[in-house]
């Protein structure tokens, strides 16, 4: 093939372009510390990258949700603990009333029980932030109110089975993907799960009704009104045992749920590392490899310039 000066210079220019393009590419990758800077760099990798960022944001959402749920359940748990302790105290007080005692003592015990009911109401109105934890889905209004004169405690929250709505008391926080499951994602105990079935007519929870009855029994026993005897109080102790068991069983369920949320949280945290690692692997950027590539590209560029500088200016003119 006949070779002309223009061919040399064209070839030099196109080689120069190729060489510089390669250097720019590597430089871009190094600057961003990423191999994939636009979808066309690696279409499959870019689409996979979207999955990793999506997974990562879902992961941080679920981690945050798990934290919220755990803090909610911790508050619930410590209040339930206080409730259980109070129930035990009431039981001790009532049992001390069973042996023959002077009448003033009955009054004192009745007052004590009344005071403890107030503590129970306070615990029942426990809050996380400005949300009531035992109010079912009605988390913005105080769930338990006590009438100052009659002393009757009524529940204003929602509870499962209320007006035929099976899930009316459930609050869910999701920490695993998929559709909501009211059993799996439930994090709360509503008023009826803590203080027993709510009387649909009066709105009074069973346990509060029981305690008010006991308090009344302590008053009545002094006069023997309504046929209240020491046996009645003994029966009341049985009722209190059942009630305490009811509360403890709720506390246990919640404790198990809290444990499972903590396990999930730990798993989410380790998943976050795996996702970050996968994302890095998917991109496959390696500083060492990039600097070697850069060195090679630089060498090629230098060689091209050196050869070009030697070959291009020469012609027969130089020797005539």
């Amino acid at each position: 093939m006949r070779v002309t000066n223009n061919m040399l210079s064209n070839q030099f220019l196109s080689g120069y372009q190729t060489s510089l393009t390669r250097m720019t590419d590597i430089q871009e990758k190094v600057a961003a510390s990423k191999n994939i800077n636009r979808p066309s760099d690696n279409p499959v990798g870019a689409a996979r990258n979207l999955q990793f960022t999506a997974a990562s944001s879902t992961n941080s959402l679920f981690t945050q949700n798990a934290n919220d749920a755990i803090s909610w359940m911790k508050t619930s748990d410590s209040n339930l603990q206080t409730i259980v302790t109070n129930m035990t105290n009431i039981r001790t007080a009532v049992s001390s009333a069973i042996s023959a005692n002077p009448t003033t003592s009955y009054d004192a015990i009745a007052k004590q029980v009344d005071e403890m009911i107030n503590t129970l109401v306070q615990c029942g109105n426990a809050k996380v932030g400005d949300r009531y934890v035992f109010g079912g889905q009605n988390d913005s209004a105080e769930p338990f109110t006590r009438d100052e004169t009659t002393g009757v405690v009524t529940y204003n929250g929602t509870y499962n089975g209320q007006s035929g709505e099976a899930t009316a008391g459930i609050i869910t926080i999701q920490v695993v993907p998929g559709d909501i499951s009211t059993s799996r994602d439930k994090i709360n105990l509503d008023g009826s799960e803590v203080f027993g079935a709510i009387d649909t007519a009066t709105g009074v929870p069973k346990i509060f009704q029981d305690l008010l009855d006991i308090k009344q029994h302590l008053v009545d026993i002094q006069t023997g009104a309504n046929g209240v005897t020491a046996d009645t109080l003994t029966n009341d102790l049985g009722t209190m045992d059942t009630d305490s068991d009811y509360i403890i069983s709720g506390q246990t369920t919640l404790g198990a749920k809290q444990k499972s949320y903590e396990t999930i949280k730990t798993r989410l945290e380790s998943d976050a590392l795996i996702i970050a690692d996968d994302a890095t692997n998917n991109d496959g950027f390696d500083v060492g490899k990039a600097s070697i590539e850069m060195q090679l590209a630089e060498n090629a560029y230098n060689t091209l310039l050196a050869v070009g500088a030697n070959v291009l200016p020469k012609s027969l003119v130089d020797y005539l």
């Binding site: 636009r38 007006s163 709360n188 012609s315």
Partner: protein, 498 residues
Amino acid sequence: MASTFGGLNIMTLGMSAQQLSQNTTGHNVSNASTAGYSRQTVNLVTTTPQQIYTANGMSMAGTGVTTASITRARDFLVDTQYWQKNATKNYWSTQSDVLAKVETVFNDTTNTGIQNAMELFQTALGTLAGNPNETSTRTAAREAASALVETLKTSGDDLISQASDASTRIDTQITQVNSYSKQIAALNKQIVSQEATGATANDLRDQRDKLVDELSALTQVNVSEEKSGAYTVIIAGGISLVQGEHATELTVKHERNTPYGYDTTKVTALNGTINVNFKDGSIASLTTLRDTTINGYLADLDAMAQSLMQDFNTLHKQGQTNDLTAADNFFGESFGTASTVDDYATGGANDPTVQASPASWLSILKVNEDFYATDGLNLIAAAGASAAGTADGTNATVLKNWLVDDPSTASASLGKNSLSSYYSSIVSTIGVQSQQAQNVTTNQTVIFDSVATTRESVSGVSMDEELSNMIKFQQAYGACAKMLATMDSMLDSLINIR
């Protein structure tokens, strides 16, 4: 018997022939860097010999040299290839350039694109599900939705402006085509008249070929040379752009695309009677990019907007507001407060979920303005249908899941894709398209370069070659002059015989 002064004549012819050759070498050297120039050669032939009678009979005596022609080194076959490959190369390099720009619209590698907006919206809904009764989470959900809407719309606007840019470029390039075809026609006329005498109009032909080179970057051309020396240039669809002295003027009519509203162009010839469709070259490339590629991505964004207006709204309406009342639309306008409520009661066209397709979903996509009114945030349906209080966030979770989980039943807009997976398929499509365009461009450039090199090899000026010719012609000229002097001294000897 040869004539006495014949020798002087031979040497004069010789000297002028060598001088012409030397001049042509000078012309070649001067035009070494002229684009489109092809080197010229002086073709020398002997002049008609003279019959002379010698003692042994008739002999043919040489009478010197003369110039038969000056020709350019050119291969029409290589030219044809060059024009063809140039059109293909420019088709792909334009694809690659424009797709690289389109790609930036769907670039999520720096977490600033549509994907990021969707993730923020998803996170906001997830947080809302856990704390449905808080103003802050409700505000966050509304604002994240608004950011998603803005990102989708901005991306749509970017694509629309790129489509309009393509039309502007087509317009400019048609103007160039018209200018080239006029110049080619004018050169045709000059060449035909100059070559009528039998000479070759080398430099004019070079100029004409250069113009075809330029033209072939814009569109595929089919060039044939008439007997007269004129070029006939035909483009796709059999439209002859240039025929003899006549150039066909192409006209561009601007139109507005429906539904997206970008500029489109309609190219016609012969006073609008014939539609011109280009093949290969940058014009065809821009047309395809605008009408198929960019339009297709706009349709994809539109489908995403449609799914938010229809599918998302449908789910939203299945939930309850914070006041535990029936929820309205999240995107678009409130069903109940739309200005032209004529069929609200019967679930008619004012509801985006049942509405027939508007021109462009993207253009009407917005977060319900009622959310910005006093207590408007309460209209966001975080609570599920069976919620009994404000602490229920079931519907927010359902909405959050809708963004990422593929549905089991196909939707009208996205099929069996979630918004997130639909978007990720757009990203991989544009990625593959752009990557392929880059690869083909690289390949086509290599092919084109090889044809260009072949052409350069045939037509290009080599300095070394010209310089060695220069010495050759210099010496030949010198020798002729020396001969002339010798002959002169011979004549001198003759004249001075006593």
